[in-house]
């Protein structure tokens, strides 16, 4: 039979392994701010495009926000370990961003850009990206955002210009600004849970 002290030491080793694996996997990435930033960027682009009547509003705002996101996230990611989940998230959102940007730019250049078509495309793509992220992260709240985006995209196919715009502004508010702030609060809580030491 194993001596009590030895048994305790072995149990201690097993706990150490569990704690360290959990610590390593604990999501240290913080993405809540990107939702808020992009939500504000959408509002700026909508306001600039509507009141400034400028064709440059969307491309300029999106490129500037993309560059800003890249700079800020590369600064905050320094010293953090690379995780498979982190790379999966980057792949989803980068792919979606490039797809939306390329499609909208092409539709605009060809003169076929229509508020209903663009709202439906953006709603469907943001719904897909949020849905995929929510499944990977097991985050029900983000899946709710996916549903809201899909609903806004589908509604854009049937409603008037004004209703489409209002629905879209509301979707941006709830799925970008409110969800982003909620994400930041969750991330802050996770960080304050403390660090295990060996």
């Amino acid at each position: 039979m194993m001596a009590n002290a030895e048994e305790l030491e072995l149990k201690d080793r097993l706990n150490l392994i569990e704690n360290m694996i959990a610590e390593g996997r604990r999501t240290t990435e913080s993405w809540g701010w990107t939702f808020v930033l992009w939500g504000l960027a959408y509002y700026v682009a909508i306001a600039w495009g509507t009141f400034g009547h400028s064709n440059l509003a969307w491309p300029v705002t999106m490129i500037a926000t993309g560059v800003l996101t890249g700079i800020l996230s590369s600064r905050s990611a320094r010293h953090r370990p690379e995780t498979t989940i982190g790379r999966a998230m980057l792949a989803i959102w980068l792919g979606m961003g490039i797809s939306i940007f390329a499609l909208m730019l092409s539709l605009g250049a060809s003169g076929r850009l229509d508020v209903h078509v663009s709202a439906a495309i953006v709603g469907a793509m943001l719904g897909t990206a949020n849905c995929t992220s929510s499944i990977i992260l097991k985050w029900k709240m983000q899946f709710a955002c996916a549903v809201v985006w899909w609903a806004a995209g589908i509604a854009a196919c049937f409603t008037s210009d004004n209703v489409t715009a209002v629905l879209f502004l509301a979707a941006i508010f709830f799925c970008q600004i409110v969800f982003g702030i909620y994400g930041m609060i969750c991330e802050s809580r996770k960080r304050s849970q403390g660090v295990s030491h060996a």
């Binding site: 569990e18 360290m20 390593g24 953090r80 060996a198």
Partner: protein, 100 residues
């Protein structure tokens, strides 16, 4: 009576075990991140990581990011296998004591 397994002495060290466990949850990690997570000193951490590297359990990559040196550690397949075997051996040794 079945023979009880021996614990791998390279992994059994507390800090080395913590390092391998941490690295098993990430793709690669910087020296500074490992230091922060384990609360170890630079000298001790470097020495233990060198032992793990010598055993072939971790791979090291040195690079420069914005002109600053960065040392990245990654768990190898051998390291993953060794940690799995160690956990199995631990569980076997503890037997019914786990969870009590």
């Amino acid at each position: 009576m079945p023979e009880l397994p021996e614990l791998n002495p390279v992994i059994h060290g507390k800090l080395r075990l913590a390092l391998l466990s941490l690295l098993s949850g990430v793709e690669e990690a910087e020296f500074t991140w490992l230091r922060a997570k384990t609360g170890s000193t630079d000298g001790n951490l470097g020495a233990q990581l060198a032992k793990l590297e010598e055993a072939g359990y971790v791979a090291v990559e040195k690079q420069f990011v914005q002109r600053k040196p960065q040392t990245l550690y990654r768990m190898t397949e051998a390291g993953r296998g060794a940690l799995t075997e160690y956990v199995q051996a631990l569980k076997q040794l503890l037997g019914g004591a786990i969870g009590s």
